[in-house]
């Protein structure tokens, strides 16, 4: 792992009118590292991701990219730096095939004409290197399962060779098998040296693939944990903001029942 983080947020704050969405948030992501961003609803996860992706420029604080301070004021800035974001709604065209979707908006052309053969060859290559299995690169997206669509959306983000990939709840609404496929893909991104920010509500997913967990609570940092040395309960208590909460009460109750 390199010493300089690919992306570092220093004291980032963001306001929307009367709402202080983010306050002094710190976050570091290194190359080849998966950082899970967790927090309850309204904790500021989405806002934080959107500031990085350039959708909402930050009000205060600094963003460092490879150690240099940068300003990200629009989505293009983020893309040019090498940040790819896969949002929850995948934004794929159902009626167009996998190759067409991968290259939508950046088609390879040869004398003004779409070079379908080259696009198909490269699509296969890309999907192979990511070990993505889909029935065919020439079937419309509508024919794919939710998990397959998710991996296609992630693969699409990989075309620009980004240094940092942000995945917004990639496993929400996926089945067990499909979730495993997406998690496999996340690990492959790490192996290939990409920095990954993974937003997730699912502790099992976080434990399975993340190296670090950054917890947000009410728009502030509430701890950054090494996944290996942290228990799920500790993360949950950081998310809920107390050691005494509904989850621990329930755990205590069931433990108590067992003891009886």
């Amino acid at each position: 792992m390199s010493a300089t983080p690919v992306l570092a947020l220093r004291g980032v704050s963001k306001r929307f009118g009367a709402v202080q969405a983010l306050t002094d948030v710190e976050l570091e992501v290194h190359a080849g590292e998966v950082v899970a961003l967790v927090g309850d609803n309204g904790a500021g996860k989405s806002t934080l991701v959107k500031t990085i992706a350039g959708v909402h420029p930050i009000d205060e604080g600094a963003i460092e990219w490879d150690g240099r301070p940068v300003t990200i004021s629009k989505p293009n800035d983020a893309q040019n730096l090498g940040i790819a974001t896969v949002y929850q709604d995948l934004a794929l065209c159902d009626n167009i095939d996998v190759v067409g979707n991968l290259y939508l908006g950046r088609e390879i052309r040869k004398r003004g004409v779409l070079d379908e053969v080259e696009m198909e060859r490269r699509s296969r290559e890309l999907l192979d290197t990511l070990s993505i299995r889909i029935p065919s690169v020439r079937i419309p997206i509508a024919s794919l399962s939710g998990g397959q669509r998710q991996v296609v959306a992630i693969a699409r983000s990989m075309l620009g060779e980004p240094k940092l990939v942000i995945l917004d709840e990639p496993t929400a609404a996926l089945g067990v098998e499909q979730t495993a496929q997406v998690l496999d893909l996340v690990e492959r991104l790490r192996e290939r040296g990409h920095a990954v920010i993974l937003i997730s509500h699912n502790m099992a997913d976080v434990k399975a693939v993340a190296d670090k967990v950054a917890v947000l609570r009410l728009g502030r940092n509430n701890g950054i944990f090494e996944v290996k040395s942290t228990s799920q309960e500790e993360i949950i208590s950081a998310i809920t903001g107390a050691t005494e909460n509904a989850v621990t009460r329930r755990a205590a109750r069931t433990n108590g029942e067992i003891q009886k």
Partner: protein, 428 residues
Amino acid sequence: MSIDKTPAPAATEPAEKTAAAAVPAVDPRLLVREQGFAGYVGEFKRKMKAGDLGSMPVVVGLLVIWAIFTSLNGNFLTAGNFSDMSVAMVGTGMIAVGIVFVLLLGEIDLSVGSVSGVAGAAFAVMNVTHGMNEILALVLSILTGTVAGAIHGFVFARIGVPAFAVTLAGLLFWQGFMLRILGDNGTINLDADGIVVNLTSYYFSDVAAAYGLAVVVTAGYFLSAFLGNRRREAAGVPSRPLSEIIVRTVLLGVLAFVVAIVFNQYKGLPLAVVIFLAFLLLTDFVLRRTAYGRKVFALGGSVEASRRAGINVELVRISVFAIAGTFAAIGGLFVASKIASANQGAGTGEFLMNVIAAAVIGGTSLFGGRGRTWDALLGVMVIVSIQYGLALEGIASPVQYMITGGVLLATVVIDAVTRKTQKTAGRA
């Protein structure tokens, strides 16, 4: 709970990689097309089952319509009638090509009938009344359609008025505009030897023309398919079996020669048909092989995805409506050509409905994102066949409307059911 991340697939990967150096690893659940002709037949059967009907319903429907009218009246399936129908369908067909573009966006353009009338009237006024140079008048009248379409597109895309409302207003406005420029006498006869009249009255009487075109089309299809396949093989991506290309080429060749023989039995190859085919080839190429066409399909699939992919949504929308207007004007000139005059009735009444019906009957989805410009050809063949068949029988237009309406309903039902079947078959 932790997820086991070293399941069977990972373990078998290296073996697969070595065994399948040429053939990339595939999902075992994949219904891969087997190589060779058997695979082609299998794929065809599966597509039919999955509701991926393509042009099947309309081709079958067309054959049924022809069979019925032939049994009713022996004059229906004659070279003369067939040739006349081919020329008569070009005007409506051209406009339907523009409608296919708009339908691909999932929108509708109700103004094309009126715009086609304006183009015919504008040409007549400029050329006949004011004595303007023919070619200049032709170009200007087509541009009138382009501008009209671009205005509709602008109001729709930039201001955000639903396309239905914008083009409904356009329908009224342009119809009024046409009546206004035609003036009091209402009908302007075109120069009988002029370019525009010749659009539908000129035939290449030399038999070599029709046969030559058939040869060129067939050979052109084979070459492009064959060379495309060679490139795919060289790049190591799946290609069609040669047998499939040969079968398709032979089918196309037989069809092309039958049509050529029929044309040659009458007056020869009609110029109008050649122009129509050229535009169909051109628009099909634009839609399927250029980045622009991909954008049109993308917008029909998901506007949000298109926007995020960096597509200029407004510009594509405006351009599509401009294309629809342009084809409306071109079609309007063919309509004026057929009757050798511009009159007050041009582009009014059921004409608009026939145009939209042609695009939809041909198989272009009303829901956007699915269709080809060839659909316009198939659809307009159905419409014109019904018109001519009923006219031969001496059946009045009320019945004609009812039958065309029935056919249109059947088509949209097929469209909606197809979508459902495809969803359940997972191959929408």
